[in-house]
């Protein structure tokens, strides 16, 4: 499958994430949009990793860790994202307990 397909899909996912973050007011949905952006990047990493491996194989260039470099990053991102989700969800839970809402437009205390 050509690399372009992966790229278009990743761009679409990332843009949905960005627009979601910018437009939605529900904190949980914003959270999910952030995850969407992260996963768009993950998809790109896997795709490019595969692509580089195939190109190297076609040109008969010896590669130390065939096709693993990019995928390794994906695992890092997943771990970090998992940690972030746990912290973020905890914050949202605390938020809900305090103001009985998860609407971020109520979170304008930074102004003062």
């Amino acid at each position: 499958m050509p690399i372009n397909y992966y790229l278009f899909l990743a761009i679409a996912l990332f843009s949905i994430g960005v627009v979601g973050v910018l437009t939605r007011r529900n904190a949980i949905i914003i959270f999910m949009c952030i995850e969407l952006m992260l996963n768009a990047v993950n998809l790109l990493l896997v795709a490019f990793s595969k692509m580089h491996y195939h190109q190297a194989a076609a040109a008969a260039i010896p590669v130390a860790n065939p096709g693993i470099d990019g995928q390794l990053f994906v695992f890092f991102i997943m771990v970090v994202a998992a940690a972030e989700v746990s912290v973020g969800l905890a914050i949202i839970v605390m938020l809900y307990r305090n103001i009985h809402s998860v609407d971020i437009n109520f979170l304008n205390r930074l102004k003062h």
Binding site: V18, V21, L22, T23, R25, I104, N105, L107, N108, R109, L110, K111, H112
Partner: protein
């Protein structure tokens, strides 16, 4: 090394310790303690100076280095003292007269509060310390430390009664005038260090002797350095055109005037030039300039002194005039005569100042001689000692002033007959104004108020004993330099000083010398007679014509005011009223306003809504990416 030389470091150190004790503990000491500590410190220095002087007289001399003051690549300036005939003689003058004046001050200043009494003595001790440093230093840098130190102390003591606005102004004037000279002195030191690579007297002089006239040290260098040093001397020693601070310096307490502004500090310039005589002897242009400036100062100050009515002002102008005589001697190459006059002048001028202090004390602070008169009955000791001082300064044999002034006149005669004529005339003026002062103060009838007349009394012993001692020295101190025409082989001073400052041997016939002496003595006697005729019974009259000109001090102060002070004040006003608000303030204020204005606008971006922040973040990132994308291409 002589054992007395090993103690030399104590000479300046003792007054410094005295300064610290009195200065730091001024709120706790009683007056007796302050006076004792102050005088004791100087007494210690005096005793050690005597020991040092004895060793030097026995033919010893030494340069003692204590530590490195400046040590960098290519320049080494040690903190070192030079003990030789010239410095040991000055040591004696400074510590000896300083001691007498400290003792005198205990009585003179006793009405001060104990805190300012201690402050006074701490300043005096600091002055003695600086002055000793000045004459002991074996290089120009150490000399300069002392030079600045005495300037500072002079400032502090002129403005001792700093609550009086006029006195502070006088102190400022003295300080600023001195700074002009100090700057020239500093430039001369830099010039010497650059050219010769050293600041030590011996090294500098050896270098210049070896390289004079070559590319290493051209004749121009020589003239510039000697001129700069001389400008430094005109500031400190109150010569034209920088002399106007000295008469105003009389705002200080009278013993200060005696010590600093008559006997010691103002002779620093003469000491410096005598010390640098090696280079001066090679610069004929500077030498003739010095002699003319000295003569002009002597004449100008003497004419002003004729018409002054403040007892201390007369003495101040007389000091300026006598300093002019000393510079005349320096300019004629007669360094020994100049130092001789410094020596004798220190005694009789200190005596005259202390005598005037005693008079002011008796008059309850009155300084105007028009309101005195007939004091000889009540103030016998003061009168007699003051008379001795007047006779000495007028130059009547066998008092000290005769010998030193005669030496100067003789050298002027050999150097330049016209200068001799003017100097002789100035010497007559000296006799005239001094005896005018004496007659106005002590003779005739009392012209003050009845309350003042009732208050008249002789000063206490603490004040009269220094007067008597100084009077004694005013008589005998000239006997160390009796010229050979009067007594064979009696010129001890020349023998003593000639190894250091070089001797000038003049071949003059004895008859010429006799004629010169007779001329000056006869003239002085006639002048005194004339003064007696004129001022025996004084009644105040308006001065007219040229005398009014003299009374107004040749309008020099007004001239300086118009030429220097006013333009500078105007410039200051310009900067204050135009440049500051319209340029500097405007720039600074506009900068601040711009930032404030920008902040006011940008503040609206901080809405507190997270969505907006994120939007801006995304927009910014997209912008950065776009810019990168297009610039890469």
């Amino acid at each position: 090394m002589q054992s007395s030389f090993q103690l030399a470091f104590l000479i300046p150190l003792l007054p410094l310790i005295g300064f610290l004790i009195n200065g730091l503990g001024r709120n706790w000491h009683s007056k007796q303690w302050s006076g004792l500590i102050g005088s004791g410190a100087v007494l210690g220095s005096f005793v050690i100076s005597l020991l040092v002087f004895q060793s030097v007289e026995a033919g010893q001399d030494a340069v003692i280095a204590y530590f490195d003051f400046i040590h960098v690549e290519g320049l080494h300036i040690p903190f070192a003292f030079q003990l030789d005939a010239l410095s040991s003689l000055f040591l004696l003058i400074i510590t000896g007269i300083g001691l007498l004046i400290h003792i005198y001050s205990i009585a003179y200043m006793r009405e001060e509060s104990s805190s300012s009494f201690a402050r006074y003595f701490s300043y005096l001790n600091l002055f003695v310390f600086s002055m000793l440093l000045l004459v002991l230093g074996s290089n120009y840098v150490v000399m300069f430390i002392g030079w600045e130190g005495v300037g500072l102390c002079s400032y502090l003591l002129i403005g001792f009664w700093f609550k009086n606005q006029e006195y502070t102004k006088a102190a400022n004037k003295a300080f600023i005038m001195n700074r002009i000279g100090d700057l020239a002195f500093l430039l001369a030191i830099f010039w010497l260090v650059i050219k010769t690579g050293s600041a030590s007297f011996s090294e500098v002089f050896d270098f210049i002797l070896a390289n004079e006239g070559t590319a290493k040290f051209t004749a121009t260098d020589l003239t510039v350095v000697t001129l700069l040093l001389f400008i430094g001397a005109t500031g400190k020693s109150a010569q034209l055109p920088l002399y106007t601070w000295l008469p105003d310096a009389m705002a200080g307490p009278t013993p200060v005037s005696a010590l600093i502004h008559a006997a010691t500090m103002v002779t620093a310039g003469i000491y410096m030039i005598a010390r640098s005589h090696v280079i001066y002897s090679m610069a004929p242009f500077t030498m003739s300039l010095i002699s003319w400036i000295g003569l002009a100062t002597a004449f100008l100050a003497a004419t002003i002194a004729l018409q002054q009515f403040d007892i201390k002002k007369v003495l101040a102008y007389s000091t300026v005039s006598q300093l002019g005589f000393m510079f005349l001697a320096l300019g004629s190459g007669a360094y020994i005569a100049a130092v001789f006059h410094v020596f004798t002048h220190a005694f009789f001028k200190a005596l005259l100042f202390l005598g005037s202090g005693s008079v002011i004390h008796a008059m309850g602070g009155e300084q105007d001689i028009r309101k005195m008169g007939g004091l000889s009955g009540k103030l016998k000791i003061t009168y007699l000692t003051f008379m001795i001082g007047c006779l000495a300064i007028a130059g009547l044999p066998p008092l000290s002033g005769f010998f030193s002034k005669d030496a100067i006149l003789l050298n002027a005669f050999l150097h330049h007959p016209l200068q001799y004529g003017l100097a002789l005339f100035t010497a007559f003026l000296t006799a005239f104004y001094m005896f005018r002062l004496l007659f106005l103060t002590f003779h005739g009838s009392f012209r003050g108020t009845a309350a003042q007349q009732a208050h008249l009394h002789e000063s206490p012993a603490l004040m009269t004993v220094p007067l008597i001692l100084l009077a004694l020295f005013s008589i005998v101190s000239g006997w160390i330099g009796i010229p050979s025409v009067l007594a064979h082989d009696a010129d001890w001073l020349s023998n003593f000083l000639s190894p250091v400052v070089g001797s000038v041997v003049h071949e003059v016939s004895h008859s010429t010398e006799w004629i010169l002496m007779a001329l000056s003595v006869g003239g002085v006697l006639l002048t005194i007679g004339f003064a007696w005729y004129k001022f025996r019974n004084y009644s105040a009259t308006e001065s007219k014509g040229v005398f009014r000109f003299f009374e107004q001090k040749w309008y020099v102060d007004q001239l300086y005011d118009k030429v220097v002070v006013k333009p500078i004040a105007y410039l200051g006003k310009l900067f204050n009223e135009w440049v500051e608000p319209h340029l500097i303030d405007a720039f600074v204020n506009r900068t601040g306003k711009t930032v404030q204005l920008a902040g006011k606008q940008i503040r609206f971006l901080q809405s507190g809504k997270i969505g907006t922040y994120v939007l801006f973040m995304v927009l910014a990132m997209v912008t950065v990416l776009l810019i990168q994308f297009f610039i890469r291409k």
